[in-house]
Amino acid sequence: MTHVYERGVVALDRVSFQIGRGEFVFLVGPTGCGKSTCIRLLLKEIEPTEGEVVLAGRRLCEIPRSRIPQLRRNIGCVFQDFKLLPDRTVYENVAYALRVIGEPRSEIRRKVPDILRLVGLATKLHNYPHELSGGEQQRVSIARAFVNHPPLLLADEPTGNLDPETSLGIMQLIHRINRTGTTVIVATHDHEMVDRMRRRVIELSEGRVVRDERAGRYKPAAAPAHPTVPHGTSGPGAMIPRLQGESGERA
């Protein structure tokens, strides 16, 4: 698919990849390479200029506007800036996500403490976000994203604001979520994390897929440690991968 923003900026240029159900994928690349655009396309916040996004066998372009909320209820989202509500407690922040989609109170009372226990915040239910550390805030945001156990979890720079120690904990949490069968897509430029996890890596550069590697590192194995964009490898079409053999994302 291709996406051109209104100002004429080409964010994605003939990008094509498939992600199987239950996979854990890193989307890597420098700022402005199109990672966030991919995430916004998956959420149907924007429509691709060309091509299409297929999610669980459904073409997103065929989903009417009125059904977008249903789509998003099946996608959990985690962001670099947490997007917590500052005047609500941890419990209320997570419960809020359930209340706005009309979950009954009894369900909320059951699910929220469960998920907060899962992310390790069982003791901080009644704290406000500003009373928490960055890592804890990100845990709340993960709890909110995962409270309904969506089949797909998107994380846009989830460790971007955190120190390496804390980041590790967050990545372990996301990994745990992945092991429950949830497909996880993490957009990041956190070298250390990608190298440590050794999962599938899709590298984007200037809107193109330049690498798609199983159990990959942040940098291609042969690349110099010095962080330069591997520009030479992105010859027209040469490196655009078409992953075969996967069943396609089943959300």
């Binding site: 998003r72 009309g102 909110r144």
Partner: protein, 301 residues
């Protein structure tokens, strides 16, 4: 989704945008107040004017010392006019009785004070066509060169109809209507603009919530409802204040006066509960419209 949740969100949001919400509520209060005064006043004046117009008669007042012969001559002159449906003679005594019936104390005292009956005897003419009532007057008291009416026959003191009064009431009514209408329109416009502004600020204050709601898949209407409710609350608070003020004014000022002034007690005005309901409904509708307008412009979901 529960209404309780929307209401809770709306109240939370109101608490955050207190100042603009208060300004909007006060403007609604002012608008509703003007409307609350305007509606009964127009109703009363229009009703009275119509009633007077429907009762158009010409009164031919006779001089006190008129001779029976002159009186008969006047009656015959009246009966010769084509547009006359009926002529009734009202003697001085009858005139006094009628006046007394209308306002007993004042007249009893007045007559006692004057020592005599001040009211003239008269012929009351009911025209066949109220629209051409002026013809009757012209026949009985044509205008002279200077435009002053001079009775044609001896013994006639004055010929008058109530058309003049009616026209005056109608003119006054239309002026009042126009002025209040313009004022109400301006205020309504200000009220809508201020409510819209409140909602805009509220959207801004709640942009994080809106973002989160969108991400977790809240439907468009569950995102919008709290804002609409917020607008309606602002409108209703203002309107309730206005209705309370109107009620107090009615109890304290108008009701005591209603015994004395026919216009205030005019039966054509709607009862107060109906007026209050109408005002509250209008305020709620207008504020909902103001909110919806802003949501369409600033909250593309």
């Amino acid at each position: 989704m529960s209404f309780g949740f929307f209401l809770q969100e709306a109240l939370r949001s109101l608490a955050r945008t207190r100042a603009p919400a208060l300004a909007a509520a006060l403007t609604v209060l002012l608008t509703t107040l003007v409307l609350g005064v305007f509606i009964p006043v127009v109703q009363a004046t229009t009703g009275t004017a119509n009633e007077v117009r429907g009762r158009i008669v010409v009164d031919v007042y006779l001089e006190d010392g008129i001779s029976p012969a002159d009186r008969e001559q006047v009656r015959r002159a009246i009966e010769r006019i084509g547009n006359v449906k009926s002529v009734t003679y009202i003697s001085k005594d009858e005139a006094l009785r009628i006046a007394e019936r209308r306002n007993p104390e004042a007249f009893r005292e007045g007559v006692k004070l004057l020592g005599r009956n001040p009211l003239p005897a008269s012929f009351r003419i009911v025209p066949r066509d109220p629209g051409r009532v002026v013809e009757i007057i012209d026949r009985l008291a044509p205008r002279d060169q200077r435009g002053v009416r001079r009775p044609d026959l001896p013994g006639i003191q004055e010929v008058r109809n109530r058309e003049d009064d009616t026209e005056r009431i109608l003119t006054a009514t239309s002026v009042v209507k126009a002025a209040t209408g313009v004022l109400a329109a301006l205020l309504a416009f200000a009220a809508v603009a201020l409510i819209a502004n409140t909602i805009r600020l509220s959207i801004f204050a709640r942009r994080r919530e809106v973002e989160v709601m969108r991400l977790v898949g809240a439907t468009n209407w569950s995102i919008r409802w709290p804002f609409v409710i917020e607008g309606v609350i602002v409108g209703l608070v203002g309107a309730l204040g206005a209705v309370a003020l109107l009620y107090v004014t009615k109890q304290a000022v108008l009701d005591p006066l209603a015994d004395r002034f026919a216009l205030i007690a005019a039966p054509q005005t709607m009862p107060f509960p109906a007026l209050a309901a109408l005002l509250l409904l209008a305020a709620a509708a207008v504020s909902a419209a103001g909110s919806a307008l802003t949501l369409r412009r600033f909250l593309r979901v």
